[in-house]
């Protein structure tokens, strides 16, 4: 036991004396959170819009007024010719345009009704759809206000609510994903590198020729990174709550327990990689390329799994972060309890047991 503690203390010396490791360990998560939180926002705000008002009546002015007031749009300028609209689209200063016909106000009171043209730049389909929806909503609201007493005999009014994230806060979606990604990198990559470094420096030779049990080498390597990963996790949660206004709905204890389970899975994977590689570079490459890409692509937080070709959907089942992502989303954002995530938890636990036993079994007691 004393030996194990001495070994763990030594591991902490290594971590805190190596700037590179420290940077990956703590710099990386913070940068990721800030990057995803602010720079890579999927929310749509300040969409450039051009307005060509050929009517110049009360009704068109009121609609323009409402669009201007909305935080989603930024009215660039009112332009007169159609060719101007096209030019603006091309130089990218606007994403959509609204064209009012000459008799917009008068047509409103006719039986045929009046028309309004909305143009959107669909080279980015998501933004285009969102912008068109927002505009339609504004116009519809105006129409309602125009004749509040008008009632149709048959009318279906959909009552829309976006559950669990009504304010459409983009941070909610990526926070669980980033946490999974960071665990994958910190726990898997750093652990594998830490073991392989002993091989590369030749210290493994001395460790093997000692009374210290080889298996304890692995455990002593894993424990510091488990602790560091948990510290990392707390930092990420604090950043998410206080900087990105993410509300944690579920039980913190459950979130922590599930995270520890996932970290152990990642550590086992790291130890497994370290068993089959002999240089730090190879270990880094395998864990970065082999782990980071699948985590990014096949977890579901960047690209929805449902839309992928079925082969990728099948592969995604062996990516541990997929289950962790599902668990954290359910617990953290939806406030669900263990009863709803037991299946994912079981799969993750199974993966941890299998990976760890392979890692321990394959650990070489000789060179």
């Amino acid at each position: 036991m004393k030996q194990l503690f001495a070994f763990i203390r030594k591991e902490f010396y290594h971590v805190f004396r190596d700037r590179r490791t420290l940077l990956i360990l703590f710099g990386f998560p913070i940068v990721q959170i800030l990057l995803f939180g602010f720079a890579l926002s999927s929310e749509v705000k300040n969409i450039g819009v051009a307005i060509q008002d050929n009517a110049h009546d009360v009704n068109s002015s009121e609609i323009i007024n409402r669009i201007q007031k909305s935080s989603y749009f930024k009215v660039k300028e009112e332009i007169v010719s159609y060719s101007d609209v096209e030019r603006r689209f091309k130089d990218g200063s606007i994403r959509c345009a609204i064209i009012f016909p000459v008799n917009f106000g008068q047509d409103l009171y006719r039986k045929e009704g009046s028309r309004i043209q909305i143009l959107a730049d669909a080279s980015d389909p998501n933004t285009a759809t969102i912008a068109v929806n927002y505009l339609t909503a504004i116009i519809r609201a105006y129409q309602q206000d125009l004749n509040p007493n008008r009632t149709l005999s048959y009318q279906i009014v959909p009552q829309l609510r976006q559950l669990y994230n009504e304010e459409q806060n983009g941070s909610l979606n990526f926070i669980p994903g980033v946490i999974a990604l960071i665990f994958m990198i910190v726990s898997t990559a750093l652990t594998s590198v830490a073991v392989v470094r002993e091989k590369e420096l030749g210290t493994m030779e001395i460790l093997l020729v000692s009374p210290f049990k080889p298996i304890l080498v692995l455990i002593a390597k894993a424990i510091p990174y488990l602790v560091l990963s948990l510290i990392n996790f707390i930092i990420i949660l604090l950043l998410a709550v206080f900087l990105l206004n993410v509300e944690i709905r579920g039980s913190l204890v459950l979130i922590f327990a599930e995270s520890i389970l996932f970290i152990i899975t990642c550590l086992s994977l790291g130890l497994l990689i370290s068993n089959v590689t002999d240089s730090q570079q190879t270990a880094m490459l395998i864990s970065m390329m082999g782990m980071m890409l699948p985590t990014l692509l096949l977890t579901g937080f960047m690209f929805p799994l449902e839309n992928m070709p079925s082969i990728f959907q099948v592969i995604s089942h062996i990516v541990p972060s997929r289950y962790y992502y599902a668990i954290i989303k359910a617990v953290m954002l939806k406030g669900l309890g263990f009863g709803y995530v037991w299946k994912e938890t079981l799969i993750l636990a199974g993966m941890a047991v299998v990976l760890l036993s392979i890692a321990l079994k394959r650990f070489k007691i000789r060179l």
Binding site: K2, Y13, L201, E205, I206, L207, L208, S210, P211, F212
Partner: protein
């Protein structure tokens, strides 16, 4: 009492034979040297004895335990210093020593007497990181770490390679003192001058042991009279003497040539007679006693001749 016993060990990596049917015994309390150039198979033998490598065939015991089936017992009892400096470079001297003491289930205090003399020399640098020590200091620290648990057998793989002359001398003085503590020491080195400091040595080349004996006996058993010669144009002299039919062997050795005659004549006049045929300027000839290196070169030459002979015979 036998501390280390090696019987018919064979180890090859793919097609390359590293250790070729090697057998030797090391007595308890002995300072045993494996002497040979780089690539002779010394490190492979060390790794097999420290249970890090499995031999292809043959058996070996260390401190009475089998290197394969009882490897854990051996690991508890030996000290091992690999050829490359293998301590934690980012840990200080004190931290390294404390770490290895703890790993071996002991403390610095417990066996302090054993390492005191060596440790005293590096103590002023207690808080310096191991990576920032000089070569000699690193070796002393590594030796301290290998000794900290008072091992029965100490394996030192090329401990003086890349170390300055003064530190090398100090290092061997330390080994002599450790011997007084009844620790069996197996050491390897490519430096022939260090061989005479061992109790017994094994000369090894190409994975084969050529000779095992006490250094003094090995020198005494040199079968021929050895001469040293030099002249102004030493390269010319070397070529001339090599091509002369009465010369058995001739090779450069420092600023001299070492040579033996095919006949049994043991007076330097015989060499003068041969050399003067080529009228070298300022010829000097001395009769000298052979060193370990001369023995080594002679053994290598004998092996090469045998090998050639065998190849010719096989070809028939």
């Amino acid at each position: 009492m036998i501390a280390v016993s090696v019987k018919n060990i064979v180890k090859s990596y793919g097609n390359v034979s590293a250790v070729d049917d090697v057998s030797f015994d090391v007595k308890k309390g002995e300072l045993f040297g494996l002497i040979g150039p780089d690539g002779a198979g010394k490190t492979s033998i060390f790794r097999i004895l420290t249970t890090l490598l499995l031999a292809d065939s043959g058996t070996a015991t260390v401190a009475g335990f089998d290197v394969v089936s009882e490897y854990q017992q051996i690991r508890n009892r030996v000290g091992y210093m690999p050829g490359r400096f293998s301590l934690y470079q980012d840990l200080t001297v004190k931290e390294n020593l404390t770490f290895f003491a703890t790993i071996f289930g002991t403390t610095i205090q417990e066996n302090y007497t054993l390492i005191k003399e060596i440790y005293d020399q590096i103590k002023p640098f207690n808080d310096r990181r191991a990576g920032k020590l000089s070569g000699g200091m690193k070796q002393k620290l590594a030796l301290c770490c290998a000794l900290i648990h008072k091992p029965d057998v100490l394996f030192l793989d090329e401990p003086t390679t890349g170390v300055d002359v003064v530190s090398r001398k100090e290092f061997w003085e330390m080994l002599a003192k450790l011997k007084e503590q009844h620790i069996t020491i197996v050491v390897s080195t490519p430096y022939m001058d260090e061989a005479r400091l061992c109790d017994r040595i094994a000369l090894i080349q190409g994975g084969k042991i050529m000779s095992i004996d006490e250094p003094a006996a090995m020198v005494k058993n040199f079968p021929k009279t050895l001469f040293a010669a030099k002249a102004d144009n030493i390269y010319r002299l070397l070529e001339d003497l090599r091509s002369d039919p009465s010369i058995e062997s001739c090779y450069a050795f420092g600023e001299y040539l070492h040579l033996t005659l095919k006949s049994d004549e043991d007076h330097k006049d015989a060499i003068f007679a041969v050399a003067n045929k080529y009228s070298p300027a300022n010829l000097v000839v001395e009769k000298i006693t052979a060193s370990i290196e001369d023995s080594f070169i002679r053994l290598m030459r004998d092996r090469a001749i045998t090998k050639e002979f065998n190849q010719v015979n096989d070809g028939k």
